[in-house]
Assembly symmetry: C2
Homo-oligomer: 267 residues x 2
Amino acid sequence: MTRQIASPSNPLIKEIRKLRNKKERENSGNFYVEGIRAVGEALSTRQTIKNIIYCQELLESDFGNQLISDLPDDFVGLIEVTAEVFDSFSLKEGPQGLAAVVHQSWASLEDVTADRGMWVALESIQDPGNLGTILRSLDATGGKGAIMLGQSTDPYHPSAVRASTGAIFSQKLIRTDLRSFQEWKSRTGYPLVGTYCGDVTPYRDYNYPQDLIILMGSEQKGLQDEHLSLCDDLVTIPMNGSVDSLNVSVAASIVLFEIYDQKGRAG
Amino acid sequence: MTRQIASPSNPLIKEIRKLRNKKERENSGNFYVEGIRAVGEALSTRQTIKNIIYCQELLESDFGNQLISDLPDDFVGLIEVTAEVFDSFSLKEGPQGLAAVVHQSWASLEDVTADRGMWVALESIQDPGNLGTILRSLDATGGKGAIMLGQSTDPYHPSAVRASTGAIFSQKLIRTDLRSFQEWKSRTGYPLVGTYCGDVTPYRDYNYPQDLIILMGSEQKGLQDEHLSLCDDLVTIPMNGSVDSLNVSVAASIVLFEIYDQKGRAG
């Protein structure tokens, strides 16, 4: 049976709002996702969903209503709320009236070796929007997931989740430190290609292996010596202009789409 | 002579903080830019600079100090502030102690015809970070500027300025409405290529003209019929995955880098 909540200070609603804080996400192991498409993606990829929250007044979409009515009878986490309550935790300007609390899912480096393909490794990525955008581009190019090295932002940060537009559910996520990554790389020999601003192979002239990790430096510092020495090869994105660098999500996407194109041409 | 300001409630400092609001930016015709690189870019591209604000305590960079000492003697807008004052308007976590108030610069569609080359037109772009990132990629690929159609976000929004990493000064900016754009397009015949999610030419199979405008739809809706009918041609970015769309700044950048690559191959 569906519970209906009309008070923004209901403890469950408070918990949902708290998921904006990293500490609360870490403690609960959950995160918040909003929007019909994203909730649909959570369902279709069979995530562990704690709650689905909807507001009948706001939920105008047929597809959104269908998602609710198609929920299995034994799903106990469905919550109906008033528009006022929905607005109290919504992160959108024109909320669609559908959100979910989903259990975080983490993979390990062993999953890279088990599920070979195209991955991106990110050194200390700071901006959650950039991280989400990279997940979205990974999804669009058939990638497997992202490996976050060092002090990275949280992929379950609301801005990362939103920027991923659902790719948070299709892409595997791994957190590790450089030392563990080094150890794993030297043990497995998994191909690692770094993107570098310097006199190395232009990214379109490089023949990418079928399985590989693209390593991106941080927004501030790019790749450091300890990363460069790990890479099997380095590629660069030639450019001109006065700025002489790219947004990290743009740079990652440009390389991902080159690899995607090469794969297509290879059949 | 340099004025030194030690109070965050000084009227001039209040004015700087107010530039966070679009209305204040519109009224004053100015915007705020922060960081050594961005201020250096404002100087080297000979912008109309109202104020340069520095904090000696925070300004550790030699290059930053050089910028200050290289200012012409007749520049009257130099202001020294305390760290407390700088923090009161700074938008960065670790401020570098250098900022500027710069006069906004706007171009018109006639400037496109006068300064032919590669431009991007954006229908109702909403996210200032996306807009700034597109300017950054335009700069990196030798583009001329951005044409904002409809209800677009402000390129002088602090998030757009920051994401542009200085390209706000190298790229021309045009605001107009669809009707004026239609009229100008039919009068000049300037080549217009739209990016479209559908069964049209893949972006890598298209032979881009030397001078052109790439038209991007809004984050929410993509290109509408009234845009499509304006375009000489449409290209699409093939992709797979569950998300089936890209961040607008990523999509624009991927097409820009394809054009940049084609130009390079053509010599």
